[in-house]
């Protein structure tokens, strides 16, 4: 019999019951909750007279709507305020642990889960948010769910699921200096496309992945959903285990040794079967910049905007033309000539301490270009912010002309006051460049934190390796 993949192992360990047609009842270990996708679920629970099955599996935080300035003054927007107050009230009522807006531990749900040790190897982790795939970096099976499923997990601690297919993405060899986890994942999506992983659980492997820190691995798994996969996973190794030591929600001293021994099993067996295998050569990956309105519309910083009229693009002509029109870009424009209005360093993809260090390292006493209207840094959590301040990174950013904000989703999706105006162009470390994502009519280019910082200083995209 063939061995098991990492996904097979975690899946099998959570089967409560299997039906004949392959639908299974899957046990959920960790349920992360935020303000946008939970109110209707809490309400449903209450209307049916139910209670959460296991409140200590839940951890809640408000992140999507929170302001990133002047928190002491509360939330101006009454609709956002009501949503956050609703989360507070629900958590209070049902006894769910919540990090409130002014708690130092508050932050983006996918940053705080791992930071607290609330995401552990071998767990099933869900959240009403598609970037739950982030937590797969720990060898957990983590995926986003809709609000009805949020209610289902609250009420039953389980989900009705069908198993996905196994897809291995192996990034072979080492990336060059200045090439980051974000570039790797953008290159993967550029290769397999935004629907390339639909119906699959991805496993990222290969030397380039093994060499990444946990922060880097989270950036990669975060964008699994942009490749169409609900979940992306990475096998457990020393990097995983040392990250988890002594975190508040990590196993107690009494259970640590047993936990560690079991986590060491969480890699795919050598003879495991994958339904699909994709290889990328890490040595050829350059810093990436997206040019269009889907994350697969991406190229190297030294490349150019494609020309939809060229023969090899016949099949994609319509979509590409539409994207270029929205992005207000001419075919064959060199990426390095694209001028920017704003720069956003943040989001659950790239707002961890390592991301902020990489961005700060680019500055070298230079200033944000005068043509840039705004460059902002939004740390992923209060603890990331504190750590960065202890290292003096805030000062480097502020001196260069960046704004230093309070943690939250911010301009990743522009649900709070941080947004692009129509027609504005932004270099962003977030994960989605959809039309209107960062504000109606706004234009987003996805890049790594170092590339975003360099673009802020130059006013346009530049190759960070020679900057």
């Amino acid at each position: 019999m063939a061995g098991k993949t990492l996904y097979d192992k975690v899946w099998d360990a959570h089967l409560v019951h299997s039906q004949e047609d392959g639908t299974v009842l899957l046990y959920i270990d960790r349920h992360l909750v935020h303000e946008v996708t939970s109110p209707q679920a809490f309400e449903g629970l209450q209307l049916a007279g139910r209670k959460p099955w296991r409140t200590n599996s839940m951890l809640a935080v408000a992140d999507h709507n929170v302001p990133t300035t002047n928190r002491a003054n509360g939330i101006d927007d009454p609709v956002s305020r009501l949503q956050i107050e609703t989360l507070d009230a629900n958590c209070e009522k049902f006894g769910v642990t919540e990090f409130k807006m002014n708690d130092l531990r508050q932050g983006i749900v996918h940053v705080i889960g791992p930071e607290q040790g609330a995401t552990l190897p071998g767990m099933t982790v869900v959240c009403g948010d598609s970037h739950t795939s982030t937590h797969g970096a720990f060898g957990a099976l983590a995926f986003g769910i809709g609000t009805s499923e949020v209610e289902h997990v609250m009420a039953t601690q389980t989900l009705l699921q069908k198993k996905a297919r196994n897809m291995l993405i192996s990034v072979d060899g080492q990336v060059g200096p200045g090439v980051t986890a974000k570039d790797i994942v953008l290159a993967i999506i550029g290769k397999i496309g935004t629907a390339g992983g639909t119906g699959c659980t991805l496993e990222f492997a290969g030397e380039a992945i093994r060499n990444l820190s946990m922060e880097g691995r989270m950036s990669v798994c975060n964008m699994s959903i942009e490749a169409g996969a609900r979940a992306g996973m990475i096998g457990v190794d020393d990097t995983t285990i040392s990250y988890l030591k002594d975190r508040p929600f990590s196993p107690s001293a009494e259970h640590w040794a047993q936990a560690e021994a079991s986590w060491r099993e969480l890699t795919s067996d050598d003879d495991a079967h994958f339904d699909e295998v994709v290889h990328l050569d890490a040595t050829t990956i350059e810093p990436q910049v997206s040019w269009g309105t889907s994350p697969e519309m991406v190229t190297s910083v030294n490349g150019q905007v494609p020309d939809p009229s060229s023969d090899e693009l016949t099949a994609k002509r319509e979509g590409y033309s539409r994207a270029l029109e929205y992005m207000d870009l001419q075919p064959a424009t060199p990426i390095s000539q694209i001028m920017l209005d704003r720069v956003f360093i943040g989001s659950c993809t790239n707002s961890r301490i390592e991301d902020l260090r990489a961005a700060a390292a680019v500055i070298k006493e230079r200033k944000v270009a005068t043509s840039i209207k705004q460059a902002m840094v939004v740390p992923g959590s209060g603890l990331v912010k504190k750590q960065a301040e202890e290292e003096g990174l805030d000062k480097l950013f502020i001196d260069a002309g960046f704004e230093w904000r309070e943690p939250g989703c911010s301009m990743c999706l522009a649900m709070n006051a941080d947004r692009l105006e129509p027609g504005e162009r932004c270099a962003s470390t977030s994960n989605r460049n959809f039309e209107g994502r960062q504000g109606q009519g706004g234009r987003t280019h996805l890049v790594s934190p170092a590339m975003a910082a360099a673009a802020a200083i130059a006013g346009h995209f530049v190759d960070v390796r020679t900057f």
Binding site: M123, T132, G228
Partner: protein
Amino acid sequence: MQEFTRMTGVAVPLMRANVDTDAIIPKQFLKSIKRSGFGVNLFDEWRYHDAGFPGQDSSTRKPNADFVLNKPRYNGAQVLLAGENFGCGSSREHAVWALDDYGIRSVIAPGFADIFHNNSFKSGLLPIVLDKDIVEKLAAECEGSEGYQLTIDLPDQTVTTPDGEVFKFEVDTFRKHCLLNGFDDIELTLQQRFRIEEYEVSRRQSAPWLFDAPS
């Protein structure tokens, strides 16, 4: 949950690929703590010229006459013909609620993003996968003839055109069963309460740290 058995309704074609959930219902409307009322803001940025915000009186807005849903011939549409990878992006179930609230009962596409596909069944919206050629053919027919209606039969798993052409589609047995009966998943799962409890007992032994309280 709303039942789904058979229906006949006006179809509307929106064939661009990768229509994401941000496009289906933009984020500002996600601030609502309700499950209803999203229909007026379905495809908001495409449907209106002016920027939309929650709580606005939609009768004062400037509709984009070129957007397909605004064309009078598609009034009351119940079937959406869509392009590849429909519903990609964010997990917001609000996208399904918006389609449902607008009156769409079924989306027919060559492929759906996984989370959207899953969410649809929870609100009684039927996602149907047909070959790309077939969906494109239906869209072309639909554009070519005003009042074009499709009949969807879930028990038989068929889509029938006005000319009587019939296309078979696949649907998961369990999901079909739930949709036909309007079953509530949670109620069904709670009938297996004892199994969940048994699982927890054994899991507590094999992986006790999963039940540790935070320090």
